[in-house]
Symmetry: C2
Subunit: 268 residues, 2 copies
């Protein structure tokens, strides 16, 4: 998917919502557990209910790997279902991979070719050669961890005279372009977006941490939005586990709708 296709979809749907499919077998309704594909069947319900309000989905690989080969198979089924039924939706694998060149190339093959994701999240610790193999696939994206929303982001990301996350953004902005690179910037420190936008005005940011983790959508938009929106706001648990019983899909749809309505107001 291209930058413009993503932006046009945001305008058309009046939403910049990404729904995180952190599908945990222990948190989905009981009746799915007796089916052959519990993670996929749950995802299907969530996807059909939230697709009118979402421009992106983001399965997290850990939740599928915890189920072994079967989980991997259900991840494949999930991305295939989205691509076949909602082809204009951007699909991110939240994998946070990090490896040397020849290995990164294998990951790129796994996620962009075997699985047909549009984008994958990456940890930048090992530097340029761990990212470059993801930047030479047409219309595919690398989403690089910069300033994450977890508490221990302070350990390294925010340490140093020039904080590591700024070093990462400044350097890795040079490796690709706004057409194939995004950054993860957490919602829990919204004022930070103001200084980040000074060095990185045009890139899209994938923003976790709104909702369950306490970040404010209004504040993120105030400091982080740019002329092409520039934000994909992720919500996982607040949507997919909005209701844990039979009405899980309807409740997820309502939660997504509420977020998208707030977003529509900011897009005017």
């Amino acid at each position: 998917m291209t930058f413009n296709q993503l932006y046009e979809h945001i305008l058309a749907k009046k939403s910049f919502l990404c729904v995180g499919l952190d599908t945990d077998i222990n948190l989905i309704p009981e009746f799915f557990k007796d089916t052959n594909h519990p993670l996929f069947n749950f995802n299907k319900g969530i996807i059909d209910a939230t697709a009118p309000y979402a421009v992106a989905y983001k399965p997290n690989s850990a939740f599928y790997e915890a189920f072994g080969a079967q989980g991997w198979n259900e991840l494949e089924m999930t991305v295939k279902y989205i691509k076949e039924n909602y082809p204009d939706i951007f699909v991110i694998l939240d994998a946070k991979r990090c490896d040397i060149g020849n290995t990164a190339m294998m990951y790129a093959r796994a996620f962009f070719e075997t699985l047909n994701f549009d984008a994958v999240t990456l940890s930048p610790y090992m530097g340029k050669d761990s990212v470059m193999p993801f930047l030479n696939h047409d219309n595919k994206w690398a989403i690089i961890l910069a300033a994450t929303s977890n508490e221990s982001a302070n350990d390294f990301e925010f340490s140093g005279e020039e904080p590591l996350y700024l070093q990462v953004m400044k350097k890795s902005m040079q490796w690709g372009s706004i057409d194939n690179t995004m950054f993860v910037v957490g919602a829990t420190r919204p004022q930070m977006f103001e200084s980040i936008r000074k060095i990185c005005p045009n890139h899209f940011f994938l923003v976790p941490g709104v909702g369950a983790q306490g970040g404010s959508l209004q504040e993120v938009v105030k400091y982080g939005m740019n002329s092409h929106c520039g934000l994909l706001i992720n919500s996982s648990r607040g949507i997919i586990y909005a209701e844990r019983g039979n009405d899980f899909a309807e409740a997820a749809g309502k939660a997504a709708h509420a977020l998208a309505e707030e977003m529509a107001a900011y897009l005017v």
Copy 2:
């Protein structure tokens, strides 16, 4: 596996060799490609030929994920085969994962419970809460990236007044102990081991970069070995692709034997 079990196995086998199972479908002998489980069948040949000389195996998850659910299944078959036939061998998943607490917990479940690995490699970018869930499983290990052997390690790991890799080691040494934490330190800068051993005298280091990447075993041992060996030297391509035809297993065995013989001399 405990620290002492690993050390005793090193003394018994007179080797501290880890064989990296970076099994690439495009590099294995042609005749495997027509079998149902090409990656596993190749690994089985390599494992049986090299097990007399190795104390650890290290499959890299990327090479299996590139094959989708089938690859994941062959990864499961590989770790199961090693555990059933060579139960004293330490098995590492080279996964370099990196995620927030609740997700890291899912990865720990995936690798330590679903797959029964002894250890997993982790990227420390997101800090403590991305590592801790791997440290509360009895006799399981987190192997944290510190100073890697790739060229672009210079981008971030070696930058800063106090280089990031030293910050990572100093801080993360406090999260666990020598019984559940190792560090990845590349062989390509062997003198670096001298200063690293001053701050981290007792931990095991997993050392890639000997052989194909140009690191010298002799130099790494000189600066990096401690009273309990403290080193697992990884070789991947130099062993598993020593010969690409029918004699691949015999050639891998010879290459592993040669490295182990050199190691035995250093262990006296």
